[in-house]
Amino acid sequence: MTGWANYLVFIVATGGFYALLALSLNLIWGGAGMVNLGLAGFFALGAYASALLTVNAGAPILAGIAGALVVGAIGGYVVTMSTTRLRGDYLAIVTLGFAETIRLVANNEIWLTRGSDGISGIPGPLKAELGGWFNAAYALGTLAIVALVWFALRRIDLSPYGRALRAVREDEQVAQVAGKRILRFKIEAFAISAAIAALAGALYGHFNSYVAPDIFQPLITIYIFLAVAAGGVGRVSGAVAGAYLVIFFLESTRFAAAAIPGLAPVQHAAIREMLIGLALIVVLRWRPQGILPERIPPAPRPQSQEAT
């Protein structure tokens, strides 16, 4: 596969990684109301876990991905356990710090992560056998995984568990009074969310065959926040739609900016950044609830007086 088709399947696959990250963020931010600015950190954890297991330890790719899930979940557990008293902005700052810590560890612990050189030559599944069709097959596989995670999260969303999570989001004290063990809910949600982000990282690494600390700059976290905000916070389908919208927007601005004649390349690059900023403002101004807003079934009222 070459030409446009290859480029498009590449974008579909990359969009899939974004979608998984958006699903992860949607669960923890939209579901449990905890702001996780450390998404890039969990993404990095998964990417490095799988890369190290397959390249250094020679494990099969599936074992690498499973390892990434475990490492991600443990990372999520550790972060929530060490921040049990923090909420809102304070939690956001700590998670941001966590992501930077992971990036700095990856940058400086050269014996383990090969430092800023990064790890290259990460194997891709059936890469030699598939040849030119690798990107297409990987994109399909990624889509299947996104669909699976989407389905699982939707089930959680509709279950009593999901309702309890939302109760924690709306008011922790009320949820506690109602007998919910909020700490356990938060830890579980955070661990699942972190594991999904780590899964995205593992898939990213095996697709691009290279991971390095530079990849996990806060830029990617910002893109995912944009995706979830545009798609609709608290809605599983919204996260997926938002992620694809963002990647589509990132790529199409390339062509739109280049279509303006008489500008230097640096001006095209600046226009792209401005368009992305503008898109965020437009969404927040005219569609703050996102394209697919969260649907909350109306609570039964104590008096059954229908409003006219």
Partner: protein, 400 residues
């Protein structure tokens, strides 16, 4: 929703209108154009280098097109932004390879971006010319589809060590952020100094800190006669100010890619940078290509990356002419035929292509150096340019 769709239509209409304005240029082309690309950091950490680099390559292509193109075909250059980020860089490279179908990508800057983009290039038989310095890059299994004009750290630091000794410095303190060449830079400087009876202290700092007071204190405790500031422009600005405030009286040396006119202007106090030495890979004295880069960029001191990407564009275009084929594989196979091995010395692609068409063998001597490559894609040797800041201006000391 309706409101949004109208917006989109307007924007599409604008893009379509703009595209039709650009049409005549495409129609004028003789046959299928030869497609090349630059992938430089236009935004992000490398954003201060990439724009001029893209411009230098574009000027070379423009000159060649004015002189009739290559193989009777027009050359079309696409410039993308790698955002100094490997993830964004890979997306841009995928677009260049698949949609624009370029046969060469030139000017990747950050080592991490180059390492991320390189597999895409060799898998699709696209030539990659880079300015990244990490030793590991040319060790990738690139099958020849990669050359770099930046001397690797071994060559650079060994020569710098010799120079530092010649300045009479015996106790050198190296201050360097974490980069792909940090470890080798420290090790090689240590080895070079030891040979001349010198000694090194070193410190790896975080390049995003707003102040380096404690780092400078630590450096001064070593009691150095010379500080080697090996960072990039933004962090070196802060570092040099803090070194000055600490009252350091010894010598300071740094890389010309970070200590440049931009840095002097940003610091704004001539006494802070007075006497600072700079060091850069360079062409031999009197090489004409460097003068040409000065002219086309309008800079008194074009940075080494701009010189290198100028060389990339010239080399790729001449390699296409020599191979009579514009594919990436043809460029790979013939780039060394125009870069080295004797023949008529040329400093630009227009003259080179003319000579090649006339059946002559050419040997390109570029703006960044002689541009001779070994089998791994590393440059074999190059001269270095030593400058010193004197009353707010860079003054040339020697080229050797």
């Amino acid at each position: 929703m309706r409101d949004r769709s109208i917006r989109l239509t307007r924007r599409t209409a604008l893009a379509a209108g703009a595209a039709s304005l650009a049409m005549p240029a495409v129609v004028r082309a003789q046959g299928e154009p030869i497609r090349l690309a630059t992938l430089t950091p236009l935004t992000g950490g490398g954003g201060s280098y990439g724009p001029v680099m893209a411009k230098a390559a574009a000027t070379v292509v423009e000159e060649v097109n004015k002189a009739g193109g290559v193989l009777g075909r027009r050359v079309q250059l696409t410039s993308e932004d790698d955002q100094t980020n490997p993830e964004a860089g890979v997306r841009a490279a995928r677009k260049l390879i698949d949609v624009d179908k370029v046969s060469a990508i030139m000017g990747t800057w950050a080592s991490s971006v180059t390492t991320a983009v390189a597999p895409l290039c060799w898998e699709s038989k696209t030539m990659l010319c880079t300015v990244s310095g990490a030793d590991s890059i040319t060790l990738l299994p690139h099958q020849g589809y990669l050359i770099r004009t930046q001397p690797n750290s071994t060559l650079q630091i060994t020569r710098l060590g010799e120079y530092v000794l010649s300045l009479g410095a015996k106790r050198v303190f190296q201050m360097i952020p974490q980069t792909p060449f940090t470890q080798s830079s420290i090790k090689l400087m240590e080895a070079a100094l030891k040979k001349g009876g010198g000694e090194q202290g070193s410190l790896i700092y975080d390049d995003k800190k707003p102040t380096y007071r404690t780092e400078v204190d630590q450096a001064l405790r070593f009691n150095p006669d010379l500080i080697f500031a090996a960072g990039y422009t933004p962090d070196t600005v802060v570092l040099l100010k803090d070194i000055y405030r600490a009252g350091f009286k010894g010598k300071i040396i740094g890389m010309a890619y970070s200590i440049n006119q931009k840095l002097i202007d940003q610091i704004g106090q001539a006494e802070v940078v007075e006497g600072v030495y700079t060091f850069a890979p360079s062409p031999a004295e009197g090489a004409t290509a460097y003068e040409r880069v000065k002219k086309i960029t309008g800079m008194d001191n074009p940075d080494p990356y701009t010189c290198q990407v100028y060389d990339h564009a010239n080399l790729v275009l001449m390699a296409i002419a020599a191979a009579k084929d514009a594919s990436g594989t043809a460029i790979r196979d013939s780039v060394r035929k125009v870069s080295q091995g004797g023949g008529k010395t040329v400093d630009n692609a227009v003259d080179g292509i003319k000579a090649i068409t006339a059946g002559e063998k050419v040997d390109y001597v570029g703006a960044s150096g002689p541009c001779d490559f070994d089998d791994k894609g590393d440059i074999i040797d190059c001269k270095f340019r030593y400058e010193q800041i004197k009353s707010g201006k860079l003054a040339l000391l020697k080229i050797a």
